[in-house]
């Protein structure tokens, strides 16, 4: 087992338990690996850094939303790789490049390199959040963007705390679908 697998898995387990700092560290490190992975993969399809950054954000959102699906009995690297590759194939299919063109790669490819040079991406998540149903917009805006606690957000919008939590969860899923529709060309 590599050091990065051990470290990232520890961060993931802490994040699953609700440790925000560990989750942040995990997403930061994964975003560098994902960026290097997507830049390398997309180069062979004539796509550049902007599309790679689009995919980095899509994959990070998916990893965040689906983090309950990581089974601690398994290695983390293959789980991350499976999501990254799934998003890559989905992206290429949406942009009408056939799936058969994606060469098979190893799970370790995803952790092979990292890339700190973040570029602009093509869509703006803030603008897409404005297209969500009102409660989801409020909940994500207050808690995830402004940084209010769930209790404060609930008070501000006269909603229950569970309603805020559900709205955040559903809103992020809806956001992922909006991004998929946005990135079609």
């Amino acid at each position: 087992m590599t050091t990065s697998e051990r470290e990232l898995k520890a961060l993931m387990l802490a994040g699953q338990g609700g440790d925000a700092a560990a989750h942040r560290r995990l997403l930061e490190r994964l975003s560098q690996h994902l960026r290097a992975y997507y830049k390398r993969k997309l180069a062979s399809f004539g796509k550049g850094a902007m599309e790679a950054e689009d995919l980095v954000q899509e994959a990070l959102l998916a990893i965040h939303i689906q983090r309950h699906s990581y089974d601690p009995a398994e290695l983390l690297t293959p789980w991350v790789h499976a999501i990254a590759r799934y998003k890559l194939i989905d992206f290429l299919r949406r942009s009408r490049t056939s799936r058969a063109d994606v060469p098979i790669d190893e799970a370790d490819d995803i952790m092979a390199n990292d890339d700190h040079v973040a570029t602009e991406n093509s869509y703006d998540i803030r603008r897409l959040i404005e297209k969500l149903p009102r409660n989801m917009q409020y909940a994500i805006g207050a808690v995830k963007l402004e940084g209010l606690s769930v209790a404060e957000a609930a008070r501000r919008y006269q909603l229950s705390e569970p309603a805020i939590k559900v709205s955040i969860h559903r809103g992020l899923k809806a956001l992922a679908n909006l991004i998929a529709k946005e990135v079609k060309t």
């Binding site: 609700g18 959102l61 699906s69 089974d71 398994e74």
Partner: protein
């Protein structure tokens, strides 16, 4: 929004996750699928009433055992496949074992009977009813299982779909067995095995559209 802003936003006020959610959701869907299939079969086709005789009871048990084995093995695979990366390092070998076993038993049964009986042993009275009923009864279990599996974010959609179809087909065969009065091993191999295979193929074909997340 830049990627580092997204990371910051996602990690604010993080909620702990429920690691057992997927196991419970898929398990619940499997239970609903079995109960649903039994209800549809019982209400639509009715239950055979002759299983008091030893011969009928033995075949009822054989059919149920075949269906339960198919469901048991396939749902272990499905539980794994439904998660991202679950398809890795997992040969599907064991899923074929119940089918190989019933085919061997059917062959042995045919071998010990005169060839003039073969036609009757394979076709039974109601091969057409079996051929149509098992895929139709499988629709409800398939829908329930798709709903559950989708929540777990599978990444190999074709394979996950095939196993969803396999479990749904097994569930349907289990329910149909309560009605079916064709008591021969070649009949079970051909029509139970064949229709479950049909459900598996249908699952693999439909899955890329149904299971996308």
């Amino acid at each position: 929004m830049k990627t580092d802003e997204l990371v910051t936003a996602l990690s604010r006020h993080l909620e702990p996750v429920d690691r057992g959610l997927i196991r419970r959701t898929v398990g619940f869907a499997l239970a609903v699928a079995i109960v649903g299939a039994l209800c549809v079969a019982a209400l639509w086709l009715g239950v055979r009433t002759d299983f008091v005789t030893a011969h009928a009871a033995a075949f009822l048990i054989a059919k149920l055992a075949f269906a339960v084995t198919v469901i048991g093995v396939a749902s272990v695979y499905l539980m794994r496949l439904s998660r991202p990366g679950g398809e890795l390092g997992m040969p599907s070998f064991w899923a074929f074992v119940p089918f190989a076993a019933i085919i061997l038993l059917a062959a042995a049964s045919l071998g010990s009977a005169p060839s003039s009986h073969w036609n009757r042993m394979i076709l039974g009275d109601e091969w057409l009813e079996c051929l149509l009923s098992i895929p139709v009864i499988a629709i409800v279990p398939f829908a329930v299982l798709v709903w559950a599996v989708r929540k777990a974010a599978p990444t190999n959609l074709v394979r996950t779909g095939a196993f969803t179809g396999l479990v749904a087909g097994g569930t349907s065969a289990l329910a149909y067995a309560l009605h079916c009065t064709d008591d021969s091993l070649p009949f079970i191999a051909a029509w139970y095995g064949g229709t479950i295979l049909l459900c598996t193929i249908a699952g693999a074909v439909l899955a890329p559209r149904l299971l996308r997340w």
